[in-house]
């Protein structure tokens, strides 16, 4: 976890980058990189790069960034980890490359010098970086296949800027705060802002798995180098027998965990009582890690109830001989931290509170790096969506294809059963949206449905946002090429939407706020490539069973059985209580989780809007 930023005055009419802006943007990311900082200027001073460092690999000053190649031609600012760095380093060294450091940053410079933009195909890890190429007088940007590491860009037509955070770009005071209707509408639809949009029109996310080249003409359109749907489609082309599932999962995940342990500091693990984090802990032990600290959140509300995960987590920690750290969290602490949470959220999100507290616990424990089981549900069909979406498509798809039936049914239900319509607003959209994968997915994950938006925000803004976002087309774009199976399609949809725009982004801002690098071994394109032939025929539940058996000492059966019922967290009730006193509040009245999330989302957006007082982001 580091913070990167840069300014490139690419247009001959533009002024040189201002140092004050460069440093303001960089230092707005102080929490991402408390261990060091630096800046670099090109010879003609038209390009400047900056960096805030969290030291993980090669803790010496030699590895400080921005780092310049020996011949001075290249300069890099890099956020992330390249897990196959040892292999790449050995390969480069064997062909005569001389290394000055033991950091993966230097390897990026050598790899670019050798392969140019094609270097990204060789990288395994989480990364966002920018390389200045003095010979070509241009800037090369890249972001990892899943989008674990953030990278935001802003182009005003004369000057190109980038940073790890939206708020850091704004802190430089030279980027427009004009609102982006697509980002605002996207947040209402999904509970997070879907990339490439942000809340601001001038700021965009470099899409996951893309590179971008910027030279005197300006930024070119981002180019894709990795596509999750394509990996799944390749797997579907040569499906693996069901009997191979366990072995593929064991080998693939064990390998991923092993490489994710690459660090010159201690690596801990976030441990719940679920299969994903438990398997990671078991595989860390298999990888030979002797001293493991495992962190678990325990909520005061659940103490002594079946909802409390900490006793089962403690048994897991004991099973794998980890030092178990249980961190108690209560509503009082949530209220005390609420402003800091909202401040740390780079873009509004309806989630991330759990990650905030577990990262806080990691920092208190003195850790810098921790593994998280994030991504297991997307990879191994752990979500209800894996059986719900195909069922909805089967049941309602034929009716949804009848023109006009959906809106008609919705109007009838609202007129005849207004109570039901209020309590189950998304049920009204079934006959409108269940006809396509994109529609069914929106129905499953949507916080609001498009037709509800004019009731909660300025109708004109809603209309414009939908026109620019094209939500169904955007979702459908993640199914190209067709992953070849229902499980593959849902894996692609969950990975490219919910995981990318919500969970990974939350892990970034919540981890970053505490200077914690959260590593996610189950979010790895190489692992997906290995498992793709098995995902074709994966039935919900089977993947998690295979994962539970992946460690040499498998997870106990009670963990697998418990995982099916899931765990509750009280944060939803806290969030709802936190908006008490506003017109949105319902106190602690029993209600569906979805309705509570809706209220919380409006409170979060109000907070984000307060940061941009010049522009009203919601009118309702």
């Amino acid at each position: 976890m580091c913070g990167i930023n840069g300014i490139f005055s690419f247009h001959s009419a533009s002024s040189m980058p201002r140092e004050a802006e460069l440093l303001k943007t960089r230092d707005a990311m102080r929490a991402r990189g408390p261990d060091g900082f630096g800046s670099w200027w090109s010879t003609d001073r038209r390009c400047a790069l900056a960096h805030r460092r969290l030291s993980i690999l090669d803790l010496s000053d030699r590895a400080s960034q921005p780092m310049v190649s020996e011949d001075g031609r290249l300069a890099v600012t890099f956020n992330g980890e390249i897990y196959n760095y040892p292999a790449l380093r050995a390969e480069l060294a064997s062909s005569g490359v001389r290394f000055r450091t033991t950091s993966d940053t230097e390897m990026l410079l050598h790899l670019y010098a050798r392969l140019g933009e094609a270097m990204v195909h060789r990288l395994r890890g989480m990364f966002a970086f920018a390389i200045w190429d003095g010979m070509r007088q241009g800037l090369f940007l890249a972001r990892d296949p899943y989008g674990i590491k953030p990278l935001y860009t802003a182009n005003d037509g004369w000057t190109f800027r980038f940073a790890s955070q939206v708020k850091a770009l704004l802190a430089g005071e030279r980027v427009s705060r004009d609102p982006e209707p697509a980002g605002i509408v996207g947040f209402h639809l999904f509970g997070s802002v879907p990339e490439p949009f942000t809340l601001y029109r001038e700021i965009r996310s470099l899409p996951a798995g893309h590179t971008q080249w910027i030279d005197a003409v300006g930024p070119r359109e981002p180019k894709s180098f990795a596509n999750l749907a394509a990996l799944l489609a390749q797997g579907a082309f040569a499906p693996a027998p069901a009997a191979e599932l366990s072995e593929r999962v064991r080998k693939g995940v064990a390998d991923s965990v092993r490489i994710h342990l690459l660090a010159d500091v201690e690596v801990g693990v976030f441990l719940s009582a679920g299969v994903d984090s438990g398997a990671l802990l078991g595989l860390m032990r298999d990888a030979g890690v002797q001293e493991i600290r495992a962190l678990t959140l325990a909520f005061e509300e659940f103490s002594g109830t079946a909802e409390d995960e900490s006793p089962l987590a403690a048994r897991l920690a004991h099973r794998y001989q980890a030092r178990h750290v249980v961190r108690q969290v209560g509503e009082q602490e949530f209220r005390e931290d609420l402003n800091a949470i909202l401040e740390a959220m780079d873009q509004p999100s309806i989630d991330g509170v759990n990650t905030w507290f577990v990262a806080k616990a990691a920092k208190e424990a003195g850790l810098k790096v921790a593994l998280s089981g994030l991504g297991g549900d997307e990879l191994l069909a752990g979500y209800p969506s894996f059986f719900e979406l195909p069922r909805w498509r089967r049941r309602f798809g034929p009716l949804a294809s009848v023109p006009g039936l959906g809106p008609l049914t919705r109007a009838l239900l609202r007129a005849l059963a207004p109570g039901f319509a209020r309590r189950r607003p998304k049920a009204l959209g079934v006959l409108e949206y269940a006809g396509s994968w994109a529609g069914a997915y929106l129905l499953r994950r949507g916080l609001y449905l498009p037709w509800e938006l004019p009731q909660i925000m300025d109708p004109e803004l809603a209309c414009e946002g939908l026109r620019r976002l094209k939500p169904l087309r955007a979702i459908d774009g993640h199914l190209n090429p067709d992953p070849g199976s229902d499980t593959g399609r849902i894996c692609a949809l969950e990975s490219a939407n919910y995981l990318r725009n919500q969970l990974l982004r939350d892990a970034d801002w919540a981890g970053m706020a505490h200077g914690i690098e959260i590593r996610v071994p189950l979010v790895d394109a190489e692992l997906l490539r290995v498992l793709a032939p098995s995902i074709v025929n994966l039935t919900p539940g089977a993947g998690k069973v295979a994962l539970a058996r992946a460690p040499s000492l498998p997870l106990p059966d009670e963990i697998v059985a418990r995982a099916k019922t899931g765990f509750g967290v009280p944060t939803g009730a806290w969030m709802n209580a936190a908006v008490a006193g506003t017109s949105d509040a319902v106190g602690r009245a029993p209600e569906t989780k979805g309705l509570a999330s809706r209220r919380w989302s409006r409170a979060v957006l109000k907070s984000a809007s307060a940061a941009s007082p010049a522009h009203k982001m919601q009118a309702a």
Binding site: G157, V217, P222
Partner: protein
């Protein structure tokens, strides 16, 4: 695509045309012809009132067609008779026709956006045409931002190509001050059309500021160059304000008189709120005359946000003019060089070549 593309330019006016858009198109086509050897250009203008002088054998300008139907027929005739690789559309009004020709010929589409025509959301057909463009050129960052406010197009496809300024606009002596009996006066100058429907250039605000300037001891005269149906109103305003003897409406002037007027002026001032770019700012500063404008719309770019010309954001125009007149005069040669470093023709030509090259590069 053909490595030596054939370009078909649908423009309002270019060679033989008048005004800023005609100048921009001439500069663009000339730069393209000189920076890309082998590329050929056929231009179809709506009007060409002045003698047509074509600078390159690789540029052919067809006879101007004023009527909409005649213009469309002429464009379709070119499309049917000539191979076309790139369609350049010089004005958003023509974008639907240009998009059709590009689609019909399987050609790349480039659309130019200047200013006020591209700021509000245009008709559905024009929006559709623009969304189909491979490249949109905007004369300023403001125009680019406005286009991106309504267009559903990748932002990377919208590129800023500002006006350039000709080599003739350079510091030098001017005999106009004596000819126009302005000796002993500090001369303020505005160059621009005076149009009843627009009225954004701000000549009326300058006239209104003159009494305050005089009261504070500034012996100013104000020269207004340009034509338009709003001149009479401005003349009446000068009368009512009691400064008619200090305001000279010079009408349209020839190219050399324009340069001399810039050289004569102590301050070029145009408090315009609606410039697509503001070429007159560049011309003034290229002749070494300081300029003052508002930080609104495209003028921000022409004044380089205050780095080339002065930018006044407060409402007190008289005070801003007084500050500029009181400030030590910047070295005209240095100001001219600074303008050329950002907006000179050589840089413009290089940029035009590089931008159009992206259209022929493989994706």
């Amino acid at each position: 695509m053909n490595s030596q593309p054939r370009i078909f330019a649908l423009v309002t006016e270019a060679f033989g045309g008048r005004g800023g858009i005609a100048q921009y198109n001439r500069d663009l086509m000339s730069a393209l012809a000189s920076s890309k050897p082998g590329w050929t250009i056929v231009i179809l203008p709506r009007t060409a009132p002045d003698p047509v002088v074509i600078p390159s054998g690789r540029i052919e300008q067809r006879q101007a067609r004023t009527g909409r139907v005649a213009y469309t027929m002429a464009a379709l005739r070119v499309a049917l008779s000539k191979p076309i690789d790139i369609v350049f559309c010089g004005h958003l009004y023509m974008a639907p026709l240009a998009a059709f020709v590009a689609w019909f010929k399987g050609a790349k589409l480039v659309i130019q956006t200047h200013g006020i025509e591209a700021w509000p959301r245009p008709s559905g057909l024009r929006q559709y045409a623009l969304a189909a463009a491979n490249l949109v050129l905007s004369v300023s960052r403001y125009t680019r931002s406005s286009v991106l406010g309504w267009a559903t197009i990748a932002p990377e496809r919208v590129v800023v190509l500002p006006n350039t300024v000709g080599a003739d606009f350079a510091p030098g002596r001017s005999g106009l001050q004596a000819e126009w009996n302005l000796e002993g006066k500090r001369v303020l100058l505005t160059v621009g059309r005076m149009d009843k429907r627009e009225r954004y250039k701000g000549q009326d605000r300058i006239i209104a500021a003159i009494p305050q300037l005089v009261a504070k001891g500034h012996e100013v005269a104000y020269v207004v160059i340009g034509e338009g149906d709003d001149v009479k109103r401005l003349q009446s305003l000068a009368q009512q304000t009691g400064v008619a003897d200090r305001v000279r409406f010079a009408g349209a002037v020839g190219p050399q008189a324009l340069i001399d007027a810039y050289r004569m002026a102590d301050l070029f001032v145009m408090p315009s709120t609606g410039e697509g770019f503001g070429i007159a700012f560049l011309e003034a500063m290229a002749t070494g005359t300081p300029a003052l404008g508002l930080p609104d719309a495209g003028a921000r770019d022409a004044l380089a946000e205050g780095e080339l010309g002065a930018v006044s954001s407060n409402g007190d125009l008289a005070a801003a003019i007084a500050r500029c007149l009181d400030a030590p005069r910047q070295d005209p040669e240095a100001l001219s060089a600074a303008v050329r470093a950002r907006f000179g023709y050589n840089g413009f030509r290089t940029r035009v070549g590089a931008i159009f090259e992206t259209l022929v590069q493989p994706a």
